[in-house]
């Protein structure tokens, strides 16, 4: 009871703080809400809004992850925390905005917030160790705070941030920070664009090893996920963020080899959730996926492993935009459409010992426009990377070519085609 109430109060407080900030900076279309607006909001349903791709597919999922983190960090389970994301989003849409509540915000906040919230919660857990003291403890708490701010606040309020406790149970994870240069070239059938090299920083995480706990054959929600987040720093249009994740909501494992040790090969079939926000390119898109997937893991000792993954599912909401295909003359209020359809994902991680680490993350969408210029859209991306360590388990270098495409056929015979190729060179730091 206390925990549920604390979680609810935390979510309300986050909404209040956002609203109060908007009030202070005079963002009047949001904050100036009266009883009449709220009654109208409640009565008018949830149409789709005209906010930017960035606001709808990055900002809202991030705020949703704050709601989730506020609930999860009180001690609630992943599934107990999920309704708080929807509740927080409903509260914001109905009570805080003088504009109409938007259905797309509900979807992106809830689905994205759930995924990113649990991922950041799990990654922050990797940093925390209640048995440490001094600078080590402070560094860990600050890191965890940065990854999951609501959890950091909760730990300070409850004094957990400085209370002695047991060390965490070790969890297999590969977290690598990247810093380097990103060069983008993009084009269409009629136009081309080249962008100068940009600085970028990123984090690549593989959490969990896809092996069930001893004596079990199932893997619980988000005990395994891939997560990649990048920030591209440039004065060019390609500045922005990228966030992508594939997480297991429930997995069923079957062993492929007779041994029962940690290096046995296995196959995991499961229910998979994906999030995708490609907002730092000439060609931008976003989407969410929910479906089934299969992961095959072949292990050969502690340093050699091949993981192949494939998933397919429903994409309840997706959108694509590109600088080289402006929506001029289409009558659309946005430079993108809201669409719905299916997505297919592929992933590969190949640990080759001292030879390096090879990876692939690819996802393709095929959707039909549900709001905007009527038509069909197909888009996707594939990022291949190769990393090799110069200092074992610490420093290395990597390179990653990436291909993106969009192909849309719209009412009236209009067609939009765009491609992008980019190349990253970066240093790696194993965390």
């Amino acid at each position: 009871m206390v925990t549920y109430l604390r979680a609810g109060a935390g979510v309300s407080l986050i909404n209040y703080l956002i609203w109060q900030w908007d009030w202070i900076i005079d963002l009047e279309h949001i904050y100036r809400v009266t009883g009449r607006d709220i009654v109208r909001n409640t009565a008018n349903g949830f149409p789709l809004d005209d906010d930017t791709l960035n606001a709808n597919f990055f900002g809202h999922p991030y705020s949703g992850s704050m709601f989730f983190g506020a609930a999860r960090s009180t001690g609630l389970t992943i599934w107990e925390s999920a309704p708080y994301v929807l509740g927080g989003s409903l509260m914001w849409e109905l009570l805080s905005e003088s504009q109409k509540p938007s259905g797309n915000d509900l979807v992106t906040t809830t689905l994205g917030g759930f995924a990113i919230g649990e991922i950041t919660h799990r990654i922050s857990s990797l940093a925390l160790d209640d048995s440490t003291t001094g600078i080590s403890r402070l560094t860990r708490e600050v890191l965890a705070f940065g990854v999951s701010p609501p959890r950091g606040v909760n730990r300070v309020l409850t004094t957990d941030a400085w209370t002695d406790g047991a060390p965490p149970l070790p969890k297999p994870a590969r977290i690598v920070a990247h810093a380097g240069l990103d060069r983008v070239a993009a084009g269409t059938v009629t136009d081309n664009a080249r962008f100068g090299p940009s600085m970028f920083i990123a984090v690549d995480a593989e959490y969990g090893n896809l092996l069930p706990a001893l004596g079990k054959t199932t893997i619980p929600a988000y005990d395994f996920f891939d997560f990649y987040a990048a920030a591209v720093l440039t004065t060019q249009r390609t500045s922005g963020f990228e966030v992508g994740s594939v997480g297991l909501l429930q997995g069923w494992s079957s062993d492929l080899t007779d041994d029962d040790g940690p290096f046995r090969s296995n196959n995991v079939f499961g229910i998979v959730q994906s999030t995708d926000f490609q907002g730092a390119d000439a060609l931008e898109f976003a989407g969410f996926g929910l479906g089934v997937g299969d992961f095959l893991v072949l292990r050969d000792g502690p340093h050699k492993r091949l993981r192949l993954g494939a998933d397919a599912g429903w994409a309840p909401l997706a959108a694509v935009s590109s600088a080289v295909n402006p929506f001029i003359g289409t009558g659309s209020a946005r430079d993108y459409n809201f669409s719905m359809g299916g997505s297919v994902g592929l992933s590969l991680r190949w640990d080759m010992g001292p030879v390096g680490h090879l990876g692939l993350a690819a996802r393709a969408y095929a959707t039909t426009v549900v709001n905007g210029t009527p038509g069909d859209e197909r888009f996707g991306s594939a990022r291949l990377w190769y990393e090799v360590e110069a200092v074992r388990n610490l420093l290395g270098v990597g390179m990653a070519p990436k291909v993106m495409y969009r192909n849309g056929d719209y009412q009236g015979g209009r067609s939009d085609v765009a491609t992008q190729v980019s190349l990253q060179f970066y240093g790696t730091l194993r965390l």
Binding site: M1, V2, T3, Y4, L5, R6, G8, A9, G10, S12, L13, N15, Y16, L17, W19, Q20, W23, E28, Y31, R32, V33, T34, G35, R36, I38, T74, G75, L76, T77, E80, L95, S96, S98, L157, T158, A213, L214, G215, K216, D260
Partner: protein, 135 residues
Amino acid sequence: MTHRHLLPLAVAASLVLLTPAAAHADQPAPAPSPAAQAPAPWSWGWVLVAATASIGATVSLGSLAVHCPSDDLECARWTSLGIWGGIGFASMGVLAGLLVVRAATPPPSRVQVSFTIDRAQAGTAAPRATFAYSF
């Protein structure tokens, strides 16, 4: 199979039968959901929760009832502050009150029991049973 092999099996079988099914896990059972823990004892924190929630709700509901002319933006500005100020006040008060309640609540006692039979012994060694508890 000799009596040296039968004895550990007999002990193991007895433990399986005499301990609850939930204790047969290979690793410590996860901590119970907070909702499943014992209810919190009475605390002055509840007074803070009730008082701030009541005041916040009153301010918010009172502000909701204010009728602003559609062209009076200043009225809307301050009315909205009342609505959300009440929500913010209640949220902070409830959170503070519940932290007081939490601080007054003794930590839940946890007893974890695990029992494992390891049959993967090489050679002629008997299966090995491990019974462990922690609290």
